[in-house]
Amino acid sequence: MNLKKALHRENRYEEAELNITPVMNIFLILVPFLLLTAVFVKLSILEFSLPTSTQAGEAQKPLNNPVVTILAISEKGFELKTKGMKIPFIIKKEANFDFQTLVEKLQKIKERHVQTEDIILAPHLSIKYDTIIKVMDHCRENGFFNISISG
């Protein structure tokens, strides 16, 4: 009985108090500082170059790597063309473009022509910018780094 009582009493009378004022001070300074430097919308860029006149001259030379894939984007879906492969038209799934099938086909092309990195996008005039960016993303993720757009 006495032991329990003694413990109980000790707890009650010696409330250990941490001095948290300095911590609060640090927080109060850090929070406004970080709020000022915080960036909530992260922007990035997709670099995209038009062929210049000098590069066009180089393009006339025979290329080491002649496999070029052409990806046409129309209101109905995607159409892929590449050397020595027959790829069926990728029709839109309801209202959305079928990116999953596009990725599968791109990977198949990559398997067959391991070296190739060139792809030419040929979007229809009414295709939205958003779709083009998404297609470019998928191309880049699947190893087609040289993306050009043909109007």
Partner: protein, 174 residues
Amino acid sequence: MYFNFEEENDHLFIVKPRRSKSISSFTLRLTSMIDMFTILLVFLLKSFSVEGEIMSVARDLHLPESTAQTPPKAAPILVVTNEWIILDGTPVEKVATVLNQQGNIINPLKTQLQQIRTFTEDLARLNVNMRFKGNIAIQGDKDIPFGLLKKIMFTCGQVGFNDMLLVVNQAEQS
């Protein structure tokens, strides 16, 4: 003490005497506030960026999302909304006019770009570091059609802005 703690359960109806703690010495409970600050601090540290903002985006301009990771560079900014083409803050041409025109060259835009190019080249004569690089940042709304983009790119290419930086929102890393 007139009642026993040990027998507390047997005497449920006995009212405990009030704790004789003086009211004057109370302490503020800061624990919950510190919890809040800690969470806030972690969140803000996560969104901390050393680079700062090179370019800002208008609130009603919806950029497309992309997985691209390249940070933005300084360049003349061409904003393409659903209604206007804006070059470095100055409205240049209405989108509807551009969509209806036949040719690929947008003349008002070409004139403005030419001015920027001449200005940069004049600066380059004073300082080599300022030379004309042909960079242009395009902030396009995600709903603009490719037909418009093509005309804009064509015009930029004609003036010598060959490196286009398509500004996109960085998608969340999953």
